[in-house]
């Protein structure tokens, strides 16, 4: 039982489902559930495809980092799939292909292979977003995504030209050995940074996000904001920790981009009146924070942050998108008093928001404390200040949103949440509360990941 099955099974199921159209949704469910079970027995090893050793063949790396990433992405994928399987039947094959692409992204140890899986998951993402009925927005996404991956490929090729290898670990070793000055290495890394940055929603490169998530539905919202966001941030993390050598000028540009992305994200969320816009701008800010942590080198808490963020975004977007479908518009005024007569969903929405804000009794608090303590211990005072300031602004607009959603007397929006969604949402928010109170496992997971040193396979 090796990791390749994680990619092979979904691809195989995708082709079969083309032939047998009407079974594709059930096959989707069966495969994604199967993969989640399969993950239990995955050995930690490097699989070289076709026997060629590292620099020549493609290798799949299964270490602690990619194992956690796989777990999060597959579980999220499965949850989103269950909710949306009944009313998006014809997307079965596409979802299977995107599942394969995502698993490939997590596993691959080879840079060009990463480009290929990036494109596969990207194209399936474009197709998924066509369900938004906004073709122009999807077109933007397509153009942005393709340009991003082209730049990534360009950077990749320059690196290959300079160091002759495409394997991540090998590349890291060769860069260290060759003693290349940081300036020379800066251009390819910046190109790759921009390439992945488009997908990871960093500010200057994410103009497509507003179009896509602004008009998302119950499938594209959680999928893009939850699953794909988590996946792209994991990839970003792997690249930043494994391969990149960041010189001080390059670091300056990245930190300016990140700081701007965090603060501007919060400001935009503060200034928007549509609920979905508030959520998407706040997820832009959170993406900025995640990349910031990776750049400062604390993979442990970054992974926890991304997974928590992924789960919360799935919950938030599911609830809001469902409500928008029923009410017809996602303006805050129209959704006012949404939770008055569905209290359970409201309670879980509130719990998830509070965990995002990092308030005590919720898992978000522990992760935020971990991030801040590590940032402070590395003697950096500027970024914690930015993070704290942004969480104040974030707190204000989320509280404003919550009070509006909970308090309204007359003509409340008639929204009914069906059972599976309610169960999913309540389970996740309970998880957040449980991990908030008893966060020993989170602590160990963070410690295990912290000593995931560059180039060493655990």
């Amino acid at each position: 039982m090796s990791a390749v099955l994680l990619i092979a099974i979904p691809i195989l199921a995708a082709f079969i489902s083309i032939i047998v159209k009407k079974w594709s949704p059930y096959m989707l469910l069966f495969v994604s559930f199967g993969l989640v079970i399969l993950l239990g027995y995955l050995p930690f090893e490097i699989i070289t495809i076709g026997g060629f050793s590292a620099p020549y063949g493609i290798s799949l790396v299964v270490d602690n980092y990619s194992y956690t990433a796989l777990y999060v992405v597959n579980v999220l994928f499965f949850l989103v799939a269950i909710i949306n399987v009944c009313n998006y039947k014809k997307l079965g094959t596409i979802l299977l292909v995107s599942l394969a692409g995502l698993n490939g992204l997590m596993l691959t140890g080879d840079l060009f292979n990463l480009f290929v899986f990036l494109e596969i998951s990207g194209i399936s993402a474009y197709i998924i977003t066509t369900t938004n009925k906004k073709p122009l927005a999807t077109f933007n996404y397509l153009v942005a995504g393709t340009v991003g991956s082209i730049l990534y490929l360009l950077g990749l090729i320059i690196l290959y030209n300079m160091f002759g290898t495409l394997n991540m670990q090998d590349m890291a070793v060769r860069i260290a050995a060759s003693g290349a000055t940081d300036i020379e290495v800066a251009l390819p890394f910046l190109l790759m940074f921009i390439g992945i940055g488009v997908e990871a929603k960093l500010l200057p490169f994410n103009s497509w996000v507003k179009g896509i998530l602004g008009h998302s539905n119950k499938l594209t919202g959680p999928m893009i904001a939850g699953v794909y966001a988590a996946a792209s941030l994991f990839v970003f993390g792997r690249l930043l920790t494994e391969v990149f050598v960041i010189s001080d000028t390059f670091m300056l540009i990245i930190s300016v981009i990140l700081a701007f992305s965090i603060l501007a994200g919060e400001a935009m969320a503060y200034s928007s009146t549509k609920v979905r816009e508030i959520l998407l701008f706040s997820s832009i800010a959170q993406a900025g924070i995640a990349v910031l942590i990776f750049v400062s080198g604390f993979t442990g808490y970054a992974v926890l942050f991304i997974s928590l963020n992924g789960f919360s975004k799935v919950v938030l977007f599911l609830i809001i998108n469902h409500a928008t479908e029923v009410v017809g518009s996602d303006e805050v005024i129209d959704l006012k008093g949404l939770f008055v007569n569905n209290k359970l969903v409201g309670a879980s929405f509130t719990a998830t928001v509070l965990s995002l804000l990092g308030l005590p009794l919720f898992a978000g608090f522990f992760v935020k404390m971990g991030i801040l303590s590590q940032l402070f211990s590395s003697g950096d005072y500027v970024f914690p200040a930015i993070i704290l300031l942004s969480s104040v602004v974030e707190g204000v607009y989320f509280v404003k949103l919550l009070t509006k959603l909970w308090y309204k007397e007359d003509n409340l929006p008639q929204v009914k949440f069906e059972l599976p969604l309610v169960y999913l949402v309540v389970v996740i928010s309970l998880l957040l509360v449980v991990f908030g109170l008893y966060f020993e496992p989170l602590h160990e997971q963070a410690l295990v990941l912290v000593n995931h040193v560059k180039g060493v396979i655990l």
């Binding site: 060009f112 474009y126 073709p135 122009l136 077109f139 153009v143 090729i157």
Partner: protein, 112 residues
């Protein structure tokens, strides 16, 4: 020399995407960008006086200056992916045309 051609093509592609308002023209400039990139990848593998990297009867020794085979393999996948994206782009263009009746982004009403 091939390198410079590739870079010029890529600049042309980028320029095309930046300035064109027509959906189809954007897709075409996207293709130009990809072709530029593929040529760039090919030019990386060039070895002066190299021979096509296929083992035949007379040149099966490692010492003969083979041209680097790896970029050519990469280009193959890159081209296929380029085709994939262009196909999806055209499908979207058809849908946009069906919805807005024009390819010009500027005069698409209600695009927001």
């Amino acid at each position: 020399m091939l390198l410079y051609a590739a870079i010029i093509l890529m600049m042309l592609g980028l320029y095309g995407i930046l300035t064109q308002r027509n959906i189809i023209k954007i897709i075409i400039s996207l293709n130009i960008l990809e072709i530029g990139l593929n040529i760039f990848i090919i030019s990386i593998g060039f070895v002066n006086g190299g021979v096509a990297p296929i083992f035949t009867g007379q040149n099966n020794l490692g010492s003969i200056g083979f041209v680097d085979p790896l970029p050519q393999a990469l280009v193959l996948t890159a081209i296929v992916i380029g085709v994939g994206t262009t196909a999806l782009g055209l499908a979207l263009a058809k849908k946009i045309y069906a919805k807005y009746g024009t390819f010009e982004i500027d005069d698409m009403k209600g695009a927001e």
